[in-house]
Symmetry: C2
Subunit: 162 residues, 2 copies
């Protein structure tokens, strides 16, 4: 490291932008977690898992695929799945075609949970981010995050649809 063509420190404009960016990155997860935990007893990651399943065909995905799409390690997803399964929100069954694999499915209860939880979450997202930005800002945000994801997520694991 420390041998790139770029200067070793950030200039004024870069430093300010970085500080603000980091502040948002540190603060936002807490906001999302707090609302979901308070209103639904879910982590933000729990919510992402449930909604990702809700968008899959048959409300089912292979564990490894779900891990990739939610940007989680397999151990993390396994732990989360255990908790959600205990609460009856998902079910896991060994796959037929590959007996190493496990398919995880959203239960009816889990689907109802998603439906009940989504509006409040969306309100939080709007109140803290989306509604603070005008359409041009949204386009800029999309463009910037896409550029950064080229590095952070080179395989487009989180591409999903859209």
């Amino acid at each position: 490291m420390a041998a790139s063509g770029s200067p070793t420190w950030l200039d004024g404009g870069e430093a300010t932008a970085w500080r603000r960016f980091i502040a948002v990155v540190e603060l936002l997860p807490g906001i999302l977690d707090a609302q979901l935990r308070r209103d639904a007893g879910l982590t933000h990651f729990d919510y992402i898992v449930l909604t990702t399943l809700s968008e899959a065909t048959d409300h089912t995905l292979r564990m490894s695929r779900l891990a990739r799409e939610t940007n989680a390690t397999l151990p993390r997803l396994s732990h989360v799945a255990s908790r959600l399964e205990k609460r009856g929100l998902v079910e896991r069954v060994a796959s037929d075609d590959d007996r190493r694999a496990t398919d995880i499915t959203l239960t009816e209860t889990g689907w109802a949970k998603v439906v009940a939880t989504a509006p409040g979450h969306v309100d939080t997202v709007r109140a803290n981010v989306i509604d603070l930005l005008d359409p041009e800002d949204i386009a800029d945000l999309d463009r910037l995050m896409a550029k950064i994801l080229v590095r952070l997520d080179p395989d487009h694991r989180m591409a999903g649809r859209g």
Copy 2:
């Protein structure tokens, strides 16, 4: 909630931008933590604490003030300070003018740690964010994050300098 003037869900452009934004918000902290932990045995938050102290006069701040500037709760900062103190990177002394208060100071060792750690961290920041964006992008990023921080950090606690 659920009674704002905005629609209850996100339209296509908003949804895509939000997904990408959330992906970055989830992935970036791990990148920063991993590099700092590997190369310096520090959390990103540890690093923020140390650098914030390094920019303060006399390398000293009151705990409550440091907590505000680093966006931490007091318990969190207290835990972190204990660990850093055990490693000899900071010192805590009871304040004179208010004997409830504690002043935390960067030691010589701590200062050396910051100096040794900063270049690698900056390289990581550049490689994963800054150098992927052109000057206009940086300006856009700054503008967008400032807008969001109006909500997330209304008191401008993290304003610092700049």
